[in-house]
């Protein structure tokens, strides 16, 4: 029985990853197109990046998006880590399955439903929509992703370390600070970055929960995409891809470096 890569497996990998990455690569490639027609190559140029930085509305939207993403990421991390602890460490408690269900449901719930229901809630409560309502929406989604990531780390966690520290007389706060926290910190950071990028990318929930003056970057991109292809969208997409790519690289490196022995 041969284990390992045959040429057959290699070609599947090449085709599969080609399918995933070629479209993205083409967006990046054509952002350096001198032609105004996106799909007609007219020579190399960086002019669309220059015009991007003169586009006030787009810059404004990017700044809203970044601030929303930082706030939503931070909030998600705190809430999600708490949820992960409750799920992983608290054993059985009343309504545990309901709680777990609430944590996992937003991961698959169609975004139009989440967006619409949040908007109706805010209107019903008389809350003006804007920056913080988007943050609340994104944090709800991000919480779930953080909870999944942190819970995975907690479940592969060697609890004898905590017990040993406790036996040696460390207070629970001390145990948490010097054992538990350092061990789950990489997962929390990874969770933060995931919630951050999720918020940065979200279009549907933001459309429902944003108010005047809090248009996010995806909302701007969407309205431009509806009008047709423009090289400017390629340029802003390339910047976003680069940005998210760096964030992911940091997240995965941190997650791997700090936990060499996290194998299950």
């Amino acid at each position: 029985m041969k284990r390992g890569l045959t040429p057959f497996h290699l070609s599947i990998l090449a085709l599969g990853f080609g399918f995933l990455y070629v479209p993205i690569a083409l967006v990046v490639f054509y952002s350096f197109n001198a032609s105004r027609l996106v799909t007609v190559w007219g020579g190399f140029s960086t002019q669309w990046y220059v015009s991007l930085f003169a586009n006030e509305a787009l810059l404004q939207a990017a700044s809203v998006s970044l601030r929303v993403a930082v706030a939503a990421g931070a909030l998600s991390t705190v809430l999600g880590t708490c949820a992960a602890f409750a799920l992983q460490r608290f054993g059985r408690f009343p309504a545990r399955s309901l709680f777990a269900g609430l944590v996992y449901a937003p991961l698959v719930m169609p975004e139009v439903i989440i967006g619409l229901s949040l908007l109706l809630l805010f209107v019903g409560l008389g809350i003006d929509r804007g920056f913080w309502t988007i943050v609340a929406g994104h944090a709800t989604l991000g919480l779930c992703f953080v909870a999944v990531v942190v819970q995975a780390r907690l479940s592969g966690f060697d609890r004898s370390l905590e017990e040993a520290a406790q036996d040696l007389g460390a207070s629970p706060a001390r145990v948490f600070r010097s054992i538990t926290l350092p061990l789950i910190l990489p997962a929390m950071l990874a969770g933060f970055l995931l919630a951050f990028t999720l918020s940065l990318d979200d279009f549907v929930i933001a459309s429902f929960t944003s108010g005047p003056g809090s248009t996010t970057l995806p909302m701007r991109i969407y309205s431009q995409v509806r009008l047709g292809l423009t090289p400017e969208i390629n340029a802003v997409s390339t910047l976003l891809i680069g940005f998210v790519g760096c964030a992911l690289l940091v997240a995965s490196t941190v997650n791997r470096l700090k936990a060499p022995s996290q194998a299950r």
Binding site: L10, P23, V38, F90, I113, L229
Partner: protein, 302 residues
């Protein structure tokens, strides 16, 4: 145990804060959607009536609640257009989900065959597109599929076709969009299920005379079933309610329920109808959602 007791107050908060958050921002809003779905559209701000106010007296409140009606539901449920949209959402999501499985299975399988030291990187590479903006990935397909798009350009210049194929603004474009966008959701559970399998099982099968083909169907696939089910649910449930993909890649005749909800809400400003559509969409998804929840909760047992 004494440590446990001292911590119990803290533990209560650790549980209560995320639980309350989810109840307020995820569970309670559904009840609100139901309430709006039972209201009537109105030319007002907000555009529905009755509007329940905390300041209302009991009598007024009861009167208002009595004014709630199932009219909107009736309209949505008897309207052929909505019915067609529901059916077409289910059909497109189902086809796209199977296609995703067809693409993802060989890929996940090949990934488990890669040398151990590559695998973490391959997994990362497989899920990374999920974190790149959804809109950008759909935009990439607009670039590829349009009449003057890159695929047509390439085929024309190779002389394979003489007139551009119309692929953009069709149901097939929507299917490609869904497969492409949701592929990472399918790869990950499949990979996890396949990687856990003991290669000795296949060796045993081949020692007992099974062909690789029958060993694959009788051992690999059945053992991967939980992963397949998880992947199918992770793709199907959100795909049914998808808005961005049918809106940007589909034609004006591509009906999907997420799109109907969106246009009722944003274009027609008919909040009660949008809410009724949302409730019926949720009703449509309740069975797959419950299967998904059961699986997740079971897997996450501490």
């Amino acid at each position: 145990m004494s440590v446990r007791l001292r911590l119990s107050a803290l533990r209560r908060w650790v549980l209560a804060v995320p639980a309350l958050w989810l109840v307020i921002f995820f569970l309670a809003p559904f009840l609100w959607v139901l309430k709006i779905a039972l209201s009537k559209p109105a030319v007002a701000q907000p555009p529905y009536e009755p509007v329940l106010l905390l300041a209302d007296s009991w009598a007024v409140m009861i009167e208002k609640i009595a004014a709630l009606s199932f009219d909107t539901f009736e309209i949505v449920m008897t309207d052929d257009l909505y019915f067609a949209a529901y059916l077409s959402s289910l059909r497109l999501a189902a086809i796209a989900t199977w296609l995703t499985l067809l693409v993802a299975f060989p890929l996940a399988y090949a990934m488990t065959r890669a040398p151990k030291k590559w695998r973490a990187a391959l997994v990362m590479l497989a899920i990374a597109p999920f974190w790149t903006s959804f809109l950008i990935r759909i935009y990439a397909w607009i670039m590829l599929l349009k009449d003057e798009g890159l695929i047509n350009k390439a085929l024309l210049s190779l002389g394979l076709i003489h007139a551009p194929l119309s692929m953009f603004a069709t149901e097939s474009a929507v299917l490609v969009g869904i497969v492409y966008s949701y592929l990472p959701f399918m790869i990950l559970p499949l990979y996890n299920a396949l990687e856990r399998q003991d290669p000795a099982l296949l060796e045993a099968a081949s020692d007992l005379g099974a062909t690789p083909f029958s060993a694959f169907w009788r051992i690999t696939v059945p053992l991967a079933r939980p992963g397949i089910l998880a992947g199918l649910l992770l793709v199907f449930i959100p795909a049914v309610g998808e808005f961005v993909i049918p809106d940007l890649l589909g034609g004006s005749d591509t009906l999907m329920i997420g799109r109907s909800l969106w246009s009722e809400f944003f274009d027609n400003r008919d909040w009660p109808t949008a809410s009724a559509v949302a409730i019926l969409l949720l009703a449509l998804l309740i069975v797959p959602l419950m299967v998904y929840e059961r699986q997740q909760v079971r897997e996450a047992k501490p």
